[in-house]
Assembly symmetry: C2
Homo-oligomer: 231 residues x 2
DNA sequence: AGATAGCGGAGAGCACCACTATCCGTAGTG
DNA sequence: CACTACGGATAGTGGTGCTCTCCGCTATCT
């Protein structure tokens, strides 16, 4: 397969593919002549992953490069590889609010209370501390009172994620599913949270019946979970 | 208070404040002379909100403008105002994957199965469909099997959020707490999910004890939830 | 054999975004 | 009365994510 076909296959413009190769996101094709190269299914797969991380996950090109480096790393202990991938994924927002040290203590306390095996200085902990400090700055300091509800929910989600991800025998495949599950899973999770908000808000502030009852408007499709067939 | 003090108070550079005023994010100060204006606490508050949404929430300036427009809207029914704020917040990623129609059906089916009072075409539903289609494209179509676990968790979270937000009597205050809770809450939620992943992964792939036991390294702070004092 | 389309590689260019710098004339301040 | 800070406006900056252009070459069609 040549670059044009790769582009058609994935819906990515050819100059963009070249750009990704230059940027080290996508391996170059195998040269068959000094100026002809061939690409295979692994390129298609990798390119789709790149686009997914960028478009849906909202990652920057630089972040994608880091994530892919972690995915491709020779990989010692599974936990380490996953940790590296995780770190590459987790962004820590800028801004240094007033109450950061206090927020860090709140996070450390939460981790302790939960008995979580996580280091205090983990990027995610720092990101969370920044977010909590922002709540504080905005006069919403009481938000910490719902943290345990959030933590409960996150434990459930993490268990579900682990079970899902645990199916993969091959380590490389596992790492990729973790990356995808984490990054795209965030998108799904926030969208679901919005939908749940809409529902709860409708029930509370309308009168249980005013919102259009939903669905059923298009076709009588009876799709169950897991129904979509892979391409 | 003049612009310099406003800047010092919030940690935002004066030219940046001017920029926000030009962009319509922040109302101009009250002119006391043709070329002197005074700012008050509402400006401080609004500016902090803007920075929170941009830095922690990752919103663009344009998105912040929309959100604030919704917050400031004269507001009829509470549910409508919240809906407007919600829509302004929810981004729909670009990219049109192959399986989008199928993914939309999956989402509609989920909403129906859950009995959620949400419209099928809601931005969040669309965002979720895009994310699910991306999973499909990446060969992770089986992810739909954990959707109900995610939905369970989101219902709990939404209930906690509603209870938290429901304290506010004043409508404007309520809307702002919804905006903050939604945008910054996303940041907290994804960070917590990461931490839960780290914990579960450590328990599974290490041996329950290898990870550093966490916390306790800094001081013997005994902070309980809700402890941070507002500034 | 010749025409035509596509290719690999590399550099320059472009559009957008979120600021940031500069300038002007004026206002408040020690 | 010097001096800093201000409001308002315009122009410029740095980073990001592509996109364009050019080159000589190759594969394919007729």
């Amino acid at each position: 397969m040549r670059i044009g076909e790769l582009g058609r296959e994935t819906g990515v413009a050819v100059p963009t593919i070249k750009f990704y190769v230059r940027e080290g996101l996508l391996p170059a094709g195998r040269l068959t002549s000094p100026n002809q190269a061939s690409y295979d299914e692994s390129h298609v797969r990798r390119l789709r992953l790149i686009r997914g991380l960028i478009d849906v996950g909202g990652l920057s090109v630089a972040a994608v490069r880091e994530v892919l480096a972690a995915v491709d790393a020779p990989g010692g202990a599974v936990h380490k590889v996953l940790g590296a991938a995780h770190d590459a994924i987790t962004p820590v927002p800028p801004g240094r609010p007033e109450g950061l040290p206090q927020a860090r203590r709140t996070v450390a306390e939460l981790i302790r209370r939960r008995g979580w095996l996580a280091e205090e200085g983990h990027p995610a902990a720092e990101a969370m501390a920044v977010a909590l400090a922002a709540f504080q700055d905005l006069g919403q300091g009481a938000f910490v009172e719902v943290l345990d509800d959030y933590a409960d929910a996150c434990e459930q989600i993490a268990d579900a994620d682990l079970a899902y991800v645990g199916r993969h025998a091959d380590v490389e495949e596992l790492v990729e599913s973790v990356v995808v599950g984490t990054v795209l899973g965030d998108a799904v999770l926030t969208a679901l949270r919005r939908l749940a908000h809409v529902d709860r808000s409708a029930r509370r502030y309308e009168g249980y019946g005013e919102g259009r009852p939903v669905a059923g408007g298009g076709a009588d499709e009876g799709m169950e979970k897991g129904g979509a067939d892979p391409s």
